[in-house]
Amino acid sequence: MALLRITSPHTQRAGRKTSWVMLMVIAATIPGLVVQTALFGWGTLINILIAVAAALVSEAIILKMRQRSIGFFLKDYSAVLTAVLLGLALPPSVPWWLTVTAVSFAIIFAKQVYGGLGNNPFNPAMVGYAIVLVSFPVPMTQWLGSADVVATQDTLSFVHSIAAIFSSAPVIDGYTMATPLDAFKHKEGLMSSEAFASVEALSSGNLSSWFYVNMAYLAGGLALLYFRIITWHTPVALLGALAVMASLFYMIDASNAATPYFHLTTGAAMFGAFFIATDPVSSCTSNKGKLFYGCGIGVLIFIIRTWGGYPDAVAFAVLLMNFAAPFIDYYSQPRAYGHKKAKKGLKIGDSQ
């Protein structure tokens, strides 16, 4: 047999391929998906299925146009992951065309136009989300209420969900309500305590639903940490910064600000911290860089939630920090072995 001539190393860690990494992230969303479905109905699951189909189709078309091997690239599951993350982020009742728009935009413009996996400067799922949020604000801010809160005392049935998603008829009013974040933002002149007492979306039942959802994502995120698919730096920095900002403003004005607990357990806090901000491609590289990056997102989330025009802020915060990531990277290189100081900047002249 002719002997192989290959340069070292001659061995590789078995099993841990890129597709495996993607699948693990997808698997880690399952707790969140289950809880979200249980509490808010089938809509999320249907969204995900639509999103995955749309993602695979758009990815395949683009790969074909770019004359790449379709099978090879589809098998890295990166498109599927983007679709799943988008499906989870979109409200459960959005019409199907909105999901398709978001996903195809994410795949085609946010990812493939930049050169495909590994080259996109922005988080594709969040680009897709932001586009539809800006273009179709109404359906995007209608979230379904959890079963024990809404007037009907039940979530939408599977059939109803399908009908809601595929028909142009508006979702039956009784099932929808604003998210707690949205409601809190629009509490108008009410004091915090009054709002929590009187606004439906801020009732303890709805809040605990959101708490469960966030805890489920936290569990999935911890699993990712355990398998060393992500490092702790980004989520810890993000949640820490968010908590610190919230505490600070709560201490200054307790009657009008929300508690840090409220900030960490509603909306997409945990989902964003463990699944969105940790997207490796568009985030920072070094551990130090990830700390800055996470902090930045946390602070931006708080700012946008409090003073911005949109109820939840993860998408915009992440996209803004995507902009800053390369810059942070240049100034957060680790100190290499044998060097007294870490290098800074991009070129030799830039250092120190």
């Binding site: 047999m1 002997l3 192989l4 001539r5 290959i6 340069t7 070292s8 190393p9 001659h10 061995t11 590789q12 860690r13 841990r16 391929k17 890129t18 495996w20 990494v21 090879f72 890295d76 990166s78 495909g116 996996l117 590994g118 080259n119 060393r228 698919i229 490092t231 490796p280 491609v281 985030s283 590289t285 070094s286 551990n287 990277d329 290189q333 680790p334 100190r335 290499a336 072995y337 044998g338 060097h339 007294k340 290098k343 900047g345 991009l346 070129k347 030799i348 830039d350 250092s351």
Partner: protein, 815 residues
Amino acid sequence: MPSDVTVFEFHGGIHPEQNKTQSLQLPLGNPKLPDELVLPLGQHIGQMSRPLVKVGDRVLKGQTIAINNGFLSSFLHAPTSGRISAIEERAIAHPSGLSDLCIIIEPDNKETWCELRPMPLWQESTKTDVLTYLAEMGIVGMGGAGFPTQVKLQGAQKNDLDYLIINAAECEPYITADDMLIREKTSHLVQGIQILQFLVEANNVIIGIEDNKEKAIELLQNELRVRQLDKQIKIAVVPTKYPSGGEKQLIQLLTDREVPSGKHPIDIGIICQNVGTCSAIYDAVVLGQPLISRITTLTGAALEHPQNVEVLLGTPIEHLLNYAGCDHSQLQRLIMGGPMMGFTLENQQAPIIKTTNCILAGSAKELPQPEPEQACIRCGMCEQACPASLLPQQLLWFTKSQEFEKAEHYNLFDCIECGACSYVCPSSIPLVQYYRHGKSAIREARDATIKSDHAKLRFEARKARQEAEAAEKEAKRLARKKPAPKADKAKVDAPTNDVTTAKADNANKAEKPANNEASKKLKIDLAIAKAKMKKLEKALTAAQEETRTEEINQLQTEVNEQKNTIQQLEDELTKVAPPAKVTKVANPNEAGVKQLKIDAAIAKASVKKLEKAIKKAEDINAPELETLKSQLTPAILRANELEKSLASAQEAAAKSSDSTATQAEELSEQAKADTKKLKIDIAIANAAIKKAKKNIDAMKAEGQDDAAIDASGLPQKLAEHEANITGLQQKLTDLTATDSKTEKPSAEVNPLADKIKKQKIAVALAKAQISKLTKRMEKEPEKAAEIQLEIEAKQAAQTTAETELAQLLNTQEKN
């Protein structure tokens, strides 16, 4: 397991499957002698050794068969007794998969040792003596690149040494050679460490060993206790993690210090030695046995009986594979070294060398082909694994996009090529391959800048010379117009001047004004070049003293370049300003001889002085030793050269005054010896050319493009060697010419006429060659520089021939 000293941590690292048990099932094996032993002349870092034997010689086991050839070179010994059957190119174990010059020994199966001269009383010898002895015993670092041990240890003579670290970590999967060596030769190893400690006097001596070698640790601890050395020599048991055995990582583990980037451990007061080297030192010093064998691991799924063997250097790998029961149908990847940093071999005839710690015969199943490369998802797993705390994903990005400046800024050159990043990369990216490419591209670019500087200098020199030549031609044309009357006039004008020819005088007169300008300029250039050379040489010595290998190589090339430039400038100068002395001095021979005698005497005196200084330096172990030594060789060379020219001048003088036959004979003897030496040099250069050509072909065959080939530096080497050969051949012809001249001086009826004829031919030949080369240059502009060099050499030859001819003609006329 208890560790005597605190163990620190290093960043990153991986835990690949160890696969060490396979090769530890059987005891240390002893394969029988193969049919032939193949000993490459380059088993170490640095220059190839110079063979001392010739084909057909009988050698005894342990006899020195090649000596060192320069600073980082090493000695080589016969691993068994037998006959030198060839000195030729053979496949060697090298990442490039190429062949190189080897000494082949046909064993006589008697294993007769040569006379051994151990140093049992090493404690009473001077350190310099022991160090020199180690060099002569061919001891080099057996764990890594084969760095000559005495060079490494010399560094410790100047600096205070904090730590002597004995590297027994052996972190690469599969390899158990060091483990086995510790088990089998515990006491040799410990005594070897004692000798080392005697040589370097470190404040701490620590053996660093991974915790997966329990038995070895136990044996070591016992040995140290029995010898009551456990206070002086500590054992540090480090956790099993690749690459804990990397020099820098082990240093960090044991001392929490980092070797500064671009520096060496010695700069922070640390020396590392491999256990194999320690036991080899014991064998050499106490038993008097040079480095002729080593312990090597034979392992891999293709072998039926994986095991460690004590094997003679030069044993072909195939012999060992058969010994271990290799199933060749299973064998898919043959690796020298471990799976992380080893390199693949294609030729099983390649021999075991001093640094071969493992032969891994992998099956397709255990070392599967790499998967197709996917996009980098910037997951950062590589970064978490990198022991040098680099950002491998950024380095990948920059090397891939050829942004080498940025790659360097991101510390590409601190990458130790350990392969941890590639190992963990989920996208199967051959990261290390990209880094190697990036590094060599950067090095090439650096060399190229240096070369272009030299080219500029050369170009300017050439321009000056061309101008001078034009002037010369013009002068000649003028001279030719009315040669006869002038010649007569000259004779009349200078009737007492019996040597000056009318012709030469004529030409001289006409040439002078034009030449003066050019020669002035050349002289200035030459002075500048020489000054630069001096500076370079100084830097080189400094680099050598501190053993900064990379720099040494770099400087060496620069020095060589500079030498060429100087040589060229000198050539030009002689051409522009033809040896005026000859024409001016009444009796050139006698005066020349006198001058040469004086020069030779001065040179000899300076050699003697240097030798004395060296001896003194050796006695007191002075740091200038190296400098002095490096000065000695050129001094000796100069003395020899002078003597040689003296001899030839004397010969000429003797001939002109009816020399005796004996003198001529003596000279022809010497000429013969020189011829032989030159022929050998040519053969070596030829071999080098062949190799370079083969390399290029191989690269072409692999489908690498021209840029890659250029980047490998092979074409440049090729050109260098070719130029070298032309020079050598020129010398050879010169020599043979003188040789034949001296051989039968009286046999010729009319020696003068004959000589004139010969010179005329030589001139014609040179002219023809020049015109041929000029034509070639037009046809192959890309090789212009190279051809230009040749042309210049030829022109020099032509001028010499012409001058001689003129002289001869003159003599004839006189007669």
